[in-house]
């Protein structure tokens, strides 16, 4: 009965590789998000989708591309990974204007 799930939980990869993180929510929410938490625990929004439409796109390198195949899924694809991409990435979902529910996070380590 997991509300917001992410896979994988851990991801270790080398610089230059391409990787994807998947997110699914079973709460019936319209809006989904991706956040990045850096090594100092600072959380910053990256993207937001409402009913599969991109509504927030913060200043994020073009190497990051979100994709929402349907309302319940929001995936994050990262091309040409760099050392600075190492972080914990959180997916979240919410009703159109309401509290956000977070997934368990994906810890990405780029070596």
């Amino acid at each position: 009965d997991t509300a917001v799930s992410q896979t994988p939980k851990y991801l270790v990869t080398q610089m230059g590789n391409d990787k994807s993180i998947k997110c699914e929510q079973n709460l019936g929410h319209d809006t989904m998000y991706w956040y990045k938490q850096d090594s100092k625990k600072f959380l910053k929004i990256m993207f937001s989708y409402n009913n599969k439409e991109l509504i927030i796109n913060e200043t994020v390198p073009n190497r990051f591309s979100p994709k929402s195949p349907d309302k319940a899924h929001l995936n994050l694809h990262i091309n040409s990974l760099e050392l600075g991409d190492s972080a914990v990435y959180f997916c979240a979902s919410s009703p159109s204007e309401g509290e956000q529910y977070f997934g368990p996070g994906t810890r990405l380590t780029v070596t």
Partner: protein, 114 residues
């Protein structure tokens, strides 16, 4: 643009003592306000939220927070802390009409001594 300040990076309290974590926000109108908790290696769990109405809101795990418009504050309180409350606490704000863009504070790390 909205912003959130959590002035205390790290707080240590004894088990059974009371707790207050400070949060100040900057926004042109009354925003939606939230407190989240993050245990080590875990995701973020919503403790409580303020949208409108009663300025004292109750949350899970015995936490409460009070919205004070005059001080632009939304401080989190608990009358008696348990060792399991040790975690990172984040205050967050959403500006109404900003497409639910959550802006987080830098977090306060709570340590509980036995």
């Amino acid at each position: 643009a909205q912003s959130v300040t959590q002035p205390d990076i790290h707080i240590t309290v004894s088990e059974g003592a009371s707790l207050e974590l400070r949060c100040n926000y900057s926004y042109g109108a009354t925003p939606y306000l939230f407190w989240y908790v993050q245990s080590p290696g875990q995701g973020l769990q919503l403790l409580l939220k303020y949208f409108s109405g009663d300025t004292l809101v109750q949350g899970i795990k015995g936490f409460e927070a009070e919205f004070k418009r005059s001080q632009s504050s939304f401080n989190l309180r608990k009358p008696s802390v348990h060792w399991s409350d040790a975690a990172e606490y984040f205050c967050a704000v959403v500006g109404i009409g900003t497409a639910s863009k959550l802006t987080f504070g830098t977090g306060t790390r709570l340590q509980v001594t036995l």
